[in-house]
């Protein structure tokens, strides 16, 4: 049991590239922290620095009250689950889990108890004598987790552990990881690029971009009040619609100081097809370009004729002028149809013109 504290952590490579540009994160004892961001944002590097697999250029990493900057990975009292599982192919499942304990000189009887306990928790009991090559992807994933559990570490580190699994298995393993973490109550840091995984798993969510932390906090709080346009478009699927407040259609509806903000954001589910404009809200005229029906809900992709002017360019953002509306699956609009959609005032998000600052209405 331990808390993990990162203080102004930086990582620069010899070629001058700065992968991590000063990160501060506090993970309390027993918390599940998820690092999320697009590929190349430095989230895996940061995790590997906590693991001790990458050196720290400056700053401080503290695990359970001990600065571990210069401590070997094996001595940090952590366990890591890798994306490709990294199981020893020539060892049986039992030996895969026991290897780390044997290297630490633990007694065979104690090793046996621990491995069998982990196998019971992970339902691997009948597979202990098999080799990793004889297991399915999900089972290998369990073995990798078992290898972490038997160590009884202070901190679990997960490096995109579910990305090699198929969609269904990913969902069930996601639930299992969460249950397991609650049950063992071990501080965990989990890296993913999947915002859905991030939202569902995290006690504390760290959204990263370009080696920096964009926002830290409770996942729902981040969803409701994204601090930047990057977070707004990255968290939530489909992404938030972002548009300039200075456009002719929007300007008079917003009015006053809100126009000065620069960027207006509306989530697809906050828009509804209606002819009325709610007081203080915003209404948009759209021509429907495409419709995605997924059953319970329907995503309508519309374009706004008046303005093709885009806002900040972040990964995952919609092309300029395109608006996504999320409506119940029972409604059936047609391609080419002209519709009016509107959102109420307290569902509007305002950001500064560069997208770096949230402005409260």
């Amino acid at each position: 049991m331990a808390n993990v504290t990162l203080r102004n952590v930086r990582k620069a490579y010899p070629n001058g590239f700065e992968a991590i540009k000063g990160v501060d994160v506090d993970v309390a004892d027993g918390q599940f922290c998820v690092l999320v961001g697009p590929s190349g944002c430095g989230k895996s590097t940061l995790l590997r620095m906590v693991a001790g697999l990458e050196t720290i250029t400056s700053g401080e990493i503290n695990i359970g009250g001990r600065v571990v900057n210069q401590v070997e990975p094996a001595d940090r009292d952590i366990a890591m689950v890798f994306q490709n599982y990294a199981l020893y192919p020539h060892m049986s499942v039992f030996n895969n889990m026991a290897y780390g304990l044997r290297n630490r000189g633990m007694k065979e009887a104690e090793i046996k108890t621990r491995v069998e306990e982990a196998a019971r928790i992970l339902e691997l009991g009948t597979m202990l004598t098999r080799k990793p090559g004889q297991l399915s992807g999900g089972q290998r994933q369990r073995v990798a987790m078992g290898r972490a559990i038997v160590r009884q570490p202070k901190v679990f580190l997960f490096d995109e552990p579910l990305s090699n699994l198929d969609a269904k298995l990913r969902i069930s393993m996601r639930v299992e990881i969460r249950k397991l973490q609650r049950r063992l109550n071990v501080t965990s840091i989990y890296v993913t690029h999947d915002q859905l995984e991030a939202m569902t798993l995290a006690d504390i969510l760290v959204v990263m971009n370009g080696g920096q932390v964009e926002q830290v906090g409770n996942p729902l709080a981040i969803y409701e009040k994204p601090a930047t346009t990057f977070v707004a478009s990255f968290i939530g699927a489909p992404p938030m619609n972002l548009m300039s407040t200075r456009q002719d259609e929007i300007k008079p509806q917003l009015g006053g100081s809100a126009v000065e903000a620069g960027i207006l954001g509306i989530r697809p589910e906050d828009l509804a097809i209606t002819d009325q404009t709610p007081s203080g809200g915003v209404a948009l005229s759209l021509t429907i370009d495409a419709i995605e029906r997924v059953g319970a809900e329907t995503f309508v992709y519309g374009s706004r004729a008046q303005d093709q002017q885009g806002v900040a360019t972040n990964p995952g953002e919609l092309p300029p002028g395109e608006v996504i509306v999320r409506i119940p699956g029972t409604e059936a609009p047609a391609i080419g149809q002209k519709i009016r959609v509107a959102a109420v005032r307290n569902k509007l998000h305002l950001f500064s013109g560069d997208g770096r600052k949230r402005i409260e209405i």
Partner: protein
């Protein structure tokens, strides 16, 4: 594609059978010759059917060698060859696996320079560097010894290269998982890398054993004592006799005996050999 071949697979089979005959016939002839009495071959007759002297010829060849000269029995030549070939194969594997481990998994200054230095020795086989190598071996008083036969031949760029290529396919996460599990470099080498390399080692052993077994020039220079003679040299000496008839049956029996150990190695390690060359799953 539908093929209408009148003779089906007849032609390919004929070609292949002809190939097999071309390769196998001399071997067959050697075996036949070794079963006849010396005088039969000396008279210029070369029968195509086995004679009745097989056991006698092989017994004499292994136990006492040729009758008239003071040559060594072929049994001791076999032993010398075996020691040399196994020594060279194991030595090459041991040295190259360690150097490949250093080159792939450790980051030290001039790492690539080291690799290329090893690599260019491919251009310097024993035949090219025979005088300096002989000088060093003799200065170290290793003439007429097994270490003199083996040690100068055990550096291998080919094997280093093969192990390097294999090691580079080992996922780096495996190294990291080992680190997390508290295994240092030596533990990782013995617990993980070596077991994973077994098929590669077997494949290399087959190739290198045959390389060592077929050495001719180097043993010829290094050994002058008859009891250290290898079988490949022995054959030559048995055929090349002065003022007497070559004992062809003994010579042929020696040739057949010289073929057996490489064949045995190939047969025994065949499955691992093929796996080592084609296997990709780690």
């Amino acid at each position: 594609m539908v093929e209408h071949r009148r003779f089906g697979n007849l032609l390919p089979h004929l070609v292949l059978i002809a190939g097999v005959i071309v390769v196998a016939f001399p071997v067959y002839l050697a075996i036949i010759a070794s079963t006849h009495d010396n005088s039969v071959i000396a008279n210029g007759q070369m029968p195509l059917y086995p004679g009745g002297h097989a056991l006698e010829t092989y017994w004499n060849t292994i136990m006492s060698g040729t009758g008239k000269t003071t040559r060594e029995p072929v049994g001791s030549m076999l032993l010398s060859s075996l020691i040399m070939a196994v020594g060279i194969a194991l030595g090459k594997i041991a040295i190259s696996i360690i150097s490949a481990y250093a080159i792939v998994f450790f980051n030290f200054p001039f790492r690539m320079a080291t690799f290329w230095t090893i690599f260019i020795t491919l251009m310097l086989p024993v035949e090219v560097r025979i005088f300096p190598t002989y000088k060093i071996t003799s200065d170290l008083h290793m003439l007429d010894s097994y270490s003199g036969l083996i040690l100068p031949l055990i550096a291998s760029a080919t094997a280093t290269l093969l192990f390097r290529q294999f090691f580079m396919t080992v996922p780096k996460e495996l190294v990291e998982a080992s680190k997390m599990d508290g295994a240092g470099p030596i533990r990782f080498f013995f617990d993980t890398l070596l077991p994973l390399s077994v098929t590669n080692i077997a494949a290399l052993f087959v190739i290198l054993f045959i390389y060592g077994w077929n050495q001719y020039l180097w043993p010829l220079l290094i050994t002058t004592r008859d009891d250290m003679q290898t079988i490949v040299i022995g054959i030559k000496k048995i055929i090349d006799v002065k003022d007497a008839l070559t004992e062809w049956s003994v010579a042929m029996a020696t040739a057949v005996l010289a073929m057996l150990p490489p064949v045995a190695v190939v047969v025994l390690l065949q499955r691992l050999f093929v796996k080592g060359l084609i296997e990709t799953e780690k």
